[in-house]
Point group: D2
Chain length 397, copies 4
């Protein structure tokens, strides 16, 4: 029966996460080392030690890996709270691409692979990368264009190709590499990132910069891995990509939801204090309506996230539904943050609040994990498919 209430455990974790983010994480935002060096390993270590002390490190994974064994719905609650600071997901080890990689390893890796890769990843000791997207007309919105190849040489596999926009590659302990293994088949491979044959050509200068390691261009040349490096089974790469896809998409939505809420709170606070033309900004309908609009959009995207999470918890692949969530969260949360920038006026375009940084992050989110237009396209295709199937199965047509 439809119910929008939350369990005591969920509420407790949400409150603890909120407190942790406000009291511990947010002060790190003004740590001078951050401005000087970005998210250096030392900072990440400190943040994670604090999260661990608070019992909030990698909260989403199973208890065997040190987490709270949250289902997708509970994860939504906790990750929204974690996202309230751009540093929150890093601190709590639930950011992309690690969170999605943990989920995937949990689902399809062998026990040995889990020990070697998942255990330290879940413990927050290493980071990881997911090497799927390619430049120059390769795999992207259309994964069928995958051009990297893996071929059998001796008992090993030799992988060649180029990857692009690979998040977190610099500094990652290992990567999951997607490569074509014949015809329309692909396979995923686990490899240390310092393996010979992996060259990080450069880190892209991108609008967003909250993810440790940034987004890199990588060359794979004669990357030789043993059979035991095959994640799950050979030729099942496209299927595993689907396993990872919807949940990973959704955790992005959760984290950015929290960031948008942060921007909104900053803007509301400012609009309630700052005067212009004889009254506070929020008393100007031009501003008040924007903030009201934010309230509506934050609520709507929250409902959408919870609904898709519930579908995943109930066994649905939620392909189309997670497309809806992704496109809506990207567009609506972007709208929220864009309005916050506008409400703050000159202040909004400076680094004096977190809003401008969140703005840049969320702009990028409208593109990665499928640009809005690709999700609309796939939803339209589903509509047509449903129509054609209904005609086929209808008694008279």
């Amino acid at each position: 029966m439809t119910d929008f209430s939350r369990s005591a455990r969920e509420i407790d974790l949400e409150n603890r996460t909120r407190r942790f983010v406000r009291e511990v994480v947010i002060p790190f935002e003004s740590d001078p080392r951050l401005a000087a060096q970005g998210l250096a390993p030392e900072l990440v270590r400190e943040l994670r030690a604090a999260a661990k002390a608070a019992g909030l490190l990698t909260p989403q994974v199973a208890e065997e890996w040190g987490g709270h064994g949250l289902d997708h719905r509970e994860t939504a609650t906790v990750l929204r709270a974690a996202g309230y600071s751009l540093l929150g997901p890093v601190a709590m080890n639930c950011m992309a691409p690690d969170e999605g990689n943990m989920h995937l390893l949990h689902k399809v890796a062998t026990p040995e692979q889990q020990q070697r890769f998942l255990a330290p990843l879940a413990a927050g000791e290493i980071r990881s990368a997911f090497l799927m997207t390619e430049p120059d007309g390769g795999a992207g919105s259309d994964p069928e264009l995958l051009q990297s190849t893996a071929r059998r040489v001796g008992g090993d596999w030799v992988i060649d190709g180029r990857k692009w926009l690979i998040t977190g590659a610099v500094g990652a302990g290992f990567g999951i590499v997607m490569a074509r293994t014949g015809g329309q088949k692909a396979t995923m491979f686990l490899t240390p990132m310092d393996a010979p044959g992996i060259t990080i050509e450069r880190v892209l200068d991108t609008l967003d910069d909250a993810m440790p390691g940034g987004h890199a261009v990588i060359r794979l040349e004669n990357l030789r891995v043993p059979d035991s490096a095959v994640l799950g089974e050979v030729d099942e790469g496209f299927r595993y990509a689907q396993v990872r896809l919807a949940p990973a998409r959704l955790t992005h939505c959760m984290r950015w939801w929290g960031a948008a809420q942060r921007a909104h709170d900053i803007a509301v606070d400012y609009a309630c204090r700052r005067q212009a033309f004889g009254k506070t900004l929020i008393e100007h309908e031009g501003v008040g309506f924007m903030l009201a609009r934010n309230e509506v959009d934050l609520r709507q995207t929250q409902l959408l996230i919870d609904w898709v999470a519930w579908l995943l918890d109930n066994g649905s692949r939620a392909g189309a539904e997670s497309s809806m969530a992704k496109l809506e969260c990207a567009e609506k949360l972007y709208g929220v943050v864009d309005r916050c920038v506008q409400v703050l006026g000159g202040l909004g375009i400076t680094g004096d609040t977190q809003v401008a940084r969140i703005f840049r992050e969320i702009r990028a989110f409208r593109i990665y994990d499928g640009p809005t237009e690709v999700h609309l396209w796939s939803l339209a295709r589903r509509l047509q498919r449903q129509y054609l199937e209904a005609r086929t199965h209808a008694p008279t047509g």
Copy 2:
């Protein structure tokens, strides 16, 4: 615990309503009497007899009044299905303003008033009106401007004033009249609509026309009613208006959701069949994206309606939340239908499908029950209030 599943009873009622609407109600849409005379009483009687036979007449009211005693959430499911035809809510006796009036009478009327007014209304034998809105700067979005007055004369009340946009007044058995009874107090009165002192000046020529009786301008002049005509208690009119407000707002959302779904289905069907420039319309992304957008907006508004209904079921007044639902359903469902008109092209502006009719109805919905801008305004005011309260209660400020 958050749960988006539905009970067996809810699913059963939804299926029965869908079937009833498709098999019984929709054929009435092309009944030549409708084009000739509009929603004449004879047609309404036939529709309601069919609904009664299907066990679907006035489904939302308590069992003592002949309904299924649905909570708000279940009502949402059934009314969305009923709204799939503009005639559905009329047939099932769950349209405005009767549905809201039944809710109000159920909550605050005396047993005698319920017998006299609620019983025949719930049985679908009569219709009713709600006389609150006024012309020329009177009660409207700002109810404080109420100008109609009721004063004590002998043991009776004498009511004077003018009302405007009074839905369903023509042909209504009784009305609920809101009038000022001193200072900032107002009282609601029950009166037969054929009482001396009530003059229907004219029925307005409006964009929308799906509600029986249309929207009228009414003059109240020396309308004399006894003490027993007071609905609930004297001077409690503004409070009762609040009791009626959020649920009535929400049932509008439910019904129009169904209508928008209908328009969408018509547009999808057309776009999957019609060819232009060498392929079906839906294969043109310009069209397919619009329909995909519809899918997203229909889902989002459904979630929002369900959430607010659940809040009402759990004892919340849901003032702000029902504002959100109202403004979003009005704007988003309007957007859905507007796109359907566009997808149909020339056909979309003709009466050859239901889409143009639904378009006109939903355009009006962006205004009645509070224009979008008034809801944004009240949400902005709440934000400011919350900010000020937080400052007041905070230990240090």
Copy 3:
């Protein structure tokens, strides 16, 4: 040299038209005959007699046909002023489809055809129709789908087909019929509308209703016309359609611009008088911003219309540019009027002002003469074509 000033003659005609519309035409809007019978011939005659008396009948045509011989730019000025009342273009005999038909006849008809058809049309004595659009997958946004045929029988032509959304057909003196005359060729024919073989099946029930005669469905069956009925030359129909296209599109923009300005003026007047929540509506930024937005959109569309008119005056076919003007005027002026409805609140959805009527007209304009999406599509195709041509002609590619 770029110059936005206007000639004395243009200003004079604009002022005279404005005065005529305000003093003579607008009072007709509340003529009880209009509500009772619509735009009956008697009313049209009275309106035109008044326009003739004011020296403003058919102002756009050449002096030999009784007009002022306006170029497109001057026509823009006068037709914007005429459109200020929905009755203005009817009164001044510059509405669709007659205006476009006059333009076409002036350009390509023989002197005999001009005497017989153009002379009485320009004199406002008869009306005309343009029979191109077809139902059921025939000619529409994609004119190549033309299905009506004309074949040689004896020395005559026999035309068969069905036409749809034919504006002004009921009551028209003659029509211009487009029919396929072999392969990818089409021919236009002039025919009295009461010719045997022309059956008006029905007048569609459409959102818009300001054009005399409405929009009809027509069956052409064995319509026999002589050789002299060929407009211009055989097999040149598609080319003539282009001759008519851009200018006719643009005069729609001009007239609807005037209507939108009217709605805006009504809304501004209301917003400056009506009080809510302690101040006038326009002092609420929620309303004031909408009206400010209107000002911007009215100005932008005016500039766009003037620019395209100037291009036409300077010999450009202005295909892409008139597409821009059409789509922008349709979308932006619609937005203007939609906001006016919203500003007026409950009043906006009633027939008590002209705004609701203008709203319905302008909604339809987003579809006829090419839906917005078709114009975007053709602009995108032009971009691609320009790209490919530039590559072809570039020395090195």
Copy 4:
């Protein structure tokens, strides 16, 4: 008479500017020094030497100052072409705030002030700043809040205050300081930027970074200037701010128009080459429509800029009209560039094209020189004022 043609001189200057930007300026965009140090003085010198050699340095100023003496309309043509590279306006010495400062000095400075400040500024030898905006509730969208003060001490003036978002302050040769000189009066002062009493507290970390010197926070403490430092006359500061306002606003529109055109060209080129799902991107209507939309918005904003420039040339202050241009150019050009980011997909959020940089610049433009909302507000106020004036002057009301 309305005319959209251009003079031979205008066309020639446009062509020369285009060629200069493409052949000389754009190669500088990938100069490694730019990535390493930003817009260092050495680079600026090289760019300006090249512009001077091309006869395109400071083209807008009067011939006596070395320019071509362009009127606003011609300036529009040249500055749009200059803006095609973010480095173009720097190279050609027509960027903000220098361009506006030159205009102001030309209009109101004494011959001595012109010799000392305008001459080297127009020669591109120094840069300048305009110190008006203040932090913390001081002068901003509402200039009346000006808090900096200048008081008479001996025969000098002593200025105190804080300034914020002061563009180009770092590295500027001189600044124009706005300070209150009693009651509602303000005065502008000319001062070398290295004068004791001027402290640049910090350069803000802002979304945009194309302007040399960035945006600084400045403390004025005991800044002592002589009488000869008064720009124009004492107490006329607010009036001079108006003199500078509309033209400076409009040159921003011109430059950003060029930048948006650049982004659009990059996106069109990419969309015509890149394949996805079996065809080029532009053949996907989802992409093609975005680019078509760009074409329309570029044309509309160009017309608007030209119209306002013409008004300025014809003696209008164009306050409201330049508000329209500013808000429309900011919002529409932003929309253009935002769509370009989206069309480029992953590439769009990287620094591998200029699009992401232009995106950040244009986001900031929606805020400085008056956020969109402030312009809407002032347009709404004008509407109300016009209404009230019309009532006052009307014979009967």
